[in-house]
Subunit: 347 residues, 2 copies
Amino acid sequence: MTDSLSRVRRVTIVDVARHAGVSTTAASKVVRNAAGTSAQMRSRVLAAVDQLGYRPSAAARALRGRTYTLGVVLPDIRNPFFADILDGAAEFLADTDYQLLTASSHDDEKDEGRVTEAMIDRSMDGLLLVAPISSRKRLQYFARTVPTVVVGWHGPGADYDIVADDDFAGAGLVVAHLAGLGHHRIAHIEHHETDPVRLAEMPNARRADGYRYAMQAHGLAEQIDIVSTTYNREGGYLGTRRLLDRPASGRPTAIFAGADIVAMGVLDALTEAGLSVPGDISVAGYDDITFASLGPVSLTTVDQAGHRIGATATRLLLDRITDRSRPASQVTFSPTLVTRRSTAPPR
Amino acid sequence: MTDSLSRVRRVTIVDVARHAGVSTTAASKVVRNAAGTSAQMRSRVLAAVDQLGYRPSAAARALRGRTYTLGVVLPDIRNPFFADILDGAAEFLADTDYQLLTASSHDDEKDEGRVTEAMIDRSMDGLLLVAPISSRKRLQYFARTVPTVVVGWHGPGADYDIVADDDFAGAGLVVAHLAGLGHHRIAHIEHHETDPVRLAEMPNARRADGYRYAMQAHGLAEQIDIVSTTYNREGGYLGTRRLLDRPASGRPTAIFAGADIVAMGVLDALTEAGLSVPGDISVAGYDDITFASLGPVSLTTVDQAGHRIGATATRLLLDRITDRSRPASQVTFSPTLVTRRSTAPPR
DNA sequence: ATGAAAGCGCTAACAA
DNA sequence: TTGTTAGCGCTTTCAT
């Protein structure tokens, strides 16, 4: 009796071998495109695979070889910049047997560790860690356990490749643009971070440094004005509230948020205060997330080329899976400025 | 010699058993919280687990039991509504051993099939299919292969549970709101779909039906005005262009987009045309994605309670994993209207 | 309550 | 080129 709920036993490589009249080894070789198979055997096995609808069990493979699965750990599914990275990675893998599986750390260091461990437990062939907040030591450990590429992070790394954007230069582009428009009082909203080691590793710190350097280069050293909050929408809102609470003469004429998601909070606060952009105040962000281009937003920002970052990181990861002892490389992309309507000369 | 790249052999349950001086069977039982273990044995095994840093291999488990992994297939990482669903699911699983792994189908039926198969190959204990576009037959097949819950889809299903929003009612809320403000010419932008079976299953079709019904109920049958495009930002843009190309007398005073992501495109087109919202035209969406609340956007929309949907779907999935023959249930949530500044009485 | 042994599906080492 | 065999780490009978 075979009712609608009866489980169908999965077709295994033994079934394929029997159906094709060859050994399981032979079938395995053909399936994996390994060397040492005759054309005749190939065609017979492939026919059996097709007829029986055979699909290899990743779990069984994991116990012996690879799983053809790459794990991506993201801090936050909601930040559309990360979606660009994922797209680039997925596109690069389109014609391979590899499958991308993603998990979110919800911007939490503990969760990030948990999730990464979970991926290792699940025999991922490689890991893509996007903007991680784990300590360098922890990253080292991950990288020694499984091939790893770190994306959007600036620490040195011997065991993993790094792909990142030149955040220092990107911040400079924004300051140059605003200064060129005639702004002097340009405030910067950055992520508050006290740990000195981490400070040098996170992209936000690089952006803040780039801002400082560029302000000096433009003769605006006196005007350097940094508000430290958190790198999310609420942080942008609160930071802006703080700026607006000052007497009018101390308010900036332009705000450079360290990330578009932060700029969203800036816009929330400005809208609430009844201020117009760019009429009353100019706003710039960083990342060029999808919503930056939205008609009513039209945010001037920095394009990090997330797509290219994702594709490059994936290429490096596959290389590293092939040859684990390959020396680690660090790829840095140059960002470009995207000028939109949220910035204009000051009143 | 142990250089920095030497692979450390993973601790196995055999190591744990030996270290604790018990059988592997016993160790396994303790690790799994299975019945039939003395308190003394428990403590010894758990101590060994702790000291050795043992973590079970999901791959090895998969060959015998479960993997404690749930797969989520989403059409599009970029739609923040899906992030709400993920959050709800992740929160529900927070104190369990289960891990959520996500993959995107990029709004493509072929990819959706590929990705879902890939998850089955990887021995997921259960599948959460969000707003799938695969045929019902295909979904049935998936559900018979692995415990499955379908989210945001309206077809009947014998083998899988369904959790969805009452899209028909939600659309009614929007029409009632706009009609209450005094609008008569209310246009609706929907997803173009010709397949009659699929038409009844997709949420967008329910919303279009709800729109039609509500327009009639408000005595506006003559004003029913539907533009068919695609359910993404570009679709919203193109649909709005079509509406704006009409002579002024034929233009709507309000546009109800079938999804917030579509409303984004509507706003793009209106901004480009130099029209103000809600001054010249009111706009409403559906989903209440994060960016709908953004200051410069402030979109009136329908809250689908993605968080609750995700949590409920996950609960049902765990139930189904425990008891596969449990009859399928269908849960429908009532949406609520979120009124913001993008809607106002017509001129 | 505890343990011995078989076996999940696959691949790699080895033999023919 | 092809096949035989062992074993990856775990859970599950089935004895004891």
